[in-house]
């Protein structure tokens, strides 16, 4: 939904707003792939208090809400995991120094995005975007081998143009469609193991646990909606933050009592 008329000045700014949002997401993915998570939060995410409080990072199993919660999960807990993994590698490989520069030794992270679909609000203050990422992550093991996996996922976000004029990430939702080992036939992958996947275990205990996206049933839940529909002004109930989470009804395979 848009205003009926925009001036030429308004139109070209709107064109560039979409470009800047796409650029922002691409830069976010590079920082993620480089393990520069603190820099990502400090430079690309919202800075104004009203947005920091409601910022969120979600995945299939719920949402971390507020920049402090996000930072604790996304940076502090992740750094602890990197340290633990390095400890294990150093224990086997005495030649490997246990220093911060060796975090991620043997790891490869590739969550590059493609297929952008970005919608700018009619009022120009917010934007929504959905990308697909044919993600790859390979973790080095202490013996020097690695565990390589595919992580195909939708990456969705709400963006806000702050008073500075800069676009920032407000709500991020990473909707993982499947997780399986490289070099295996997806058709041979056991779907219903009953055990949490590595990605689920890593997602920890979010502020708001919730079944956001359950791909066990062949993506039948239809969330997050793609593409985002045109809109005039931001409505949290239609966003990619926790207030926009799908409202599973009783009888839906994703419905859980805790859904509320």
């Amino acid at each position: 939904m848009r205003k009926q008329y925009y001036s030429d000045d308004e139109r070209i700014i709107r064109v560039w707003d979409v470009e800047e949002v796409k650029d922002l997401m691409a830069r976010r993915q590079v920082l993620n792939m480089n393990n520069e998570r603190r820099k990502e939060l400090d430079t690309l995410w919202v800075t104004e208090p009203k947005y920091r409080k409601t910022a969120s990072m979600g995945s299939n199993w719920g949402y971390y809400v507020g920049m402090d919660e996000i930072s604790n999960f996304y940076v502090a807990q992740y750094t602890d995991r990197l340290q633990k993994a390095l400890d294990e590698k150093c224990a086997v490989n005495p030649g490997l120094r246990n220093i911060r520069d060796n975090f991620g030794y043997g790891d490869l992270i590739a969550h590059h995005v493609s297929t952008p679909c970005v919608v700018l609000a009619g009022d120009g203050k917010t934007a929504k975007g959905v990308w697909y990422s044919l993600g790859v992550r390979s973790l080095g093991k202490p013996d020097g081998s690695c565990e390589a996996k595919w992580y195909p996922e939708r990456i969705c976000a709400d963006f806000v143009k702050e008073d500075s004029g800069d676009w920032k990430i407000w709500h991020l939702l990473i909707s993982l469609d499947v997780e399986y080992e490289a070099g295996t036939n997806l058709g041979d992958v056991e779907t219903f193991t009953g055990a949490p996947t590595e990605a689920q275990k890593e997602f920890g205990e979010p502020t708001l646990p919730y079944v956001v996206h359950n791909p066990d049933y062949g993506w039948s839940d239809g969330y997050p909606t793609v593409p985002p529909v045109a809109y005039y002004s931001y409505d949290p109930a239609e966003g990619f933050g926790p207030e926009g989470r799908p409202k599973w009804h009783k009888g839906h395979p994703n419905y859980r009592k805790e859904n509320g």
């Binding site: 000045d9 060796n102 590059h112 493609s114």
Partner: protein, 252 residues
């Protein structure tokens, strides 16, 4: 890029520039897929002498080095087609050399995750793309299809009003046969040499004229390796880094 520093006319022009260099990058990888090596230098690259292509094992620096590189690919492409003709005489035996050209290899590289900056002066541009590819080639092991993951970075320069490629930095992290484990250094060895493809032995592209290790392929014991530097807003090329052979700032 801040839109505040430019007027409406300039913003329209800069959007067109962004679109044009993105298209040029697309033409570059599509030209590799379509085996346009015989004409790619003339069609897409700058006329300057300081052009360069960086790969994991070093730089092809200068016009002569790039010409020799593309000529070696051209020769290999012809050889592959001839070998296939011999292996499949019933299917390809009647084909002319021209019709055969390009059969065998299939180099698919999609350019994702675009980060593009146009200089304030509009004379140059820079781009970073993540590369997700499927590259099939013909060697003494027959046809083998590899997953390819890496990055492709460009410096572009405007010549007579047309954008051209100045520098390419193409670095791979993964180049592993499909169906095998990434990071397995012996994955290719699992494809034995085939007698009827023996003529392909030793057919390789020319080596970089400035050999140096820009990047090593991923294994489970490779130190964590960041992506090359991505473009940041800049006013003129002298005030930013280069993806060219004379600067190592982009990947160090």
């Amino acid at each position: 890029m801040s839109t505040l520093r430019f007027n409406t006319e300039e913003l329209v022009g800069r959007f067109e520039d962004r679109r044009d260099v993105k298209n040029l990058a697309g033409k570059y990888v599509m030209s590799l897929l379509l085996k346009k090596e015989p004409t790619i230098l003339q069609d897409l690259w700058s006329a300057r002498d300081d052009i360069s292509l960086g790969v994991d094992s070093g730089y092809y620096a200068g016009r002569d080095a790039l010409a020799a590189y593309y000529a070696s690919i051209d020769a290999a492409t012809k050889k592959k087609a001839q070998v296939l003709k011999e292996v499949f005489p019933e299917d390809l035996g009647e084909y002319s050399d021209e019709k055969l050209y390009g059969r065998g290899p299939m180099e698919i590289r999609s350019l994702d995750n675009a980060i593009i900056e146009i200089a304030d002066d509009g004379e140059t541009a820079k781009a970073f793309f993540y590369v997700f590819g499927l590259v099939t080639d013909i060697s003494e092991r027959g046809p083998v299809s590899n997953w390819v993951l890496g990055s492709c970075c460009f410096d572009f320069i405007r010549e007579d009003g047309v954008w051209k490629i100045w520098h390419v930095l193409y670095l791979e992290d993964v180049d592993t046969p499909a169906g095998k484990k990434w990071g397995d250094p012996n994955a290719l060895e699992q494809f034995p040499e085939m007698e009827n493809f023996a003529a392909m032995k030793g057919v390789e592209p020319a080596k970089p004229n400035r050999p140096m290790e820009l990047r090593t392929l991923y294994t489970g014991s490779r130190p964590f390796t960041k992506l090359p530097k991505v473009p940041e807003p800049y006013d003129t090329f002298a005030n930013t880094f280069s993806y060219g052979a004379d600067s190592q700032e982009a990947w160090r």
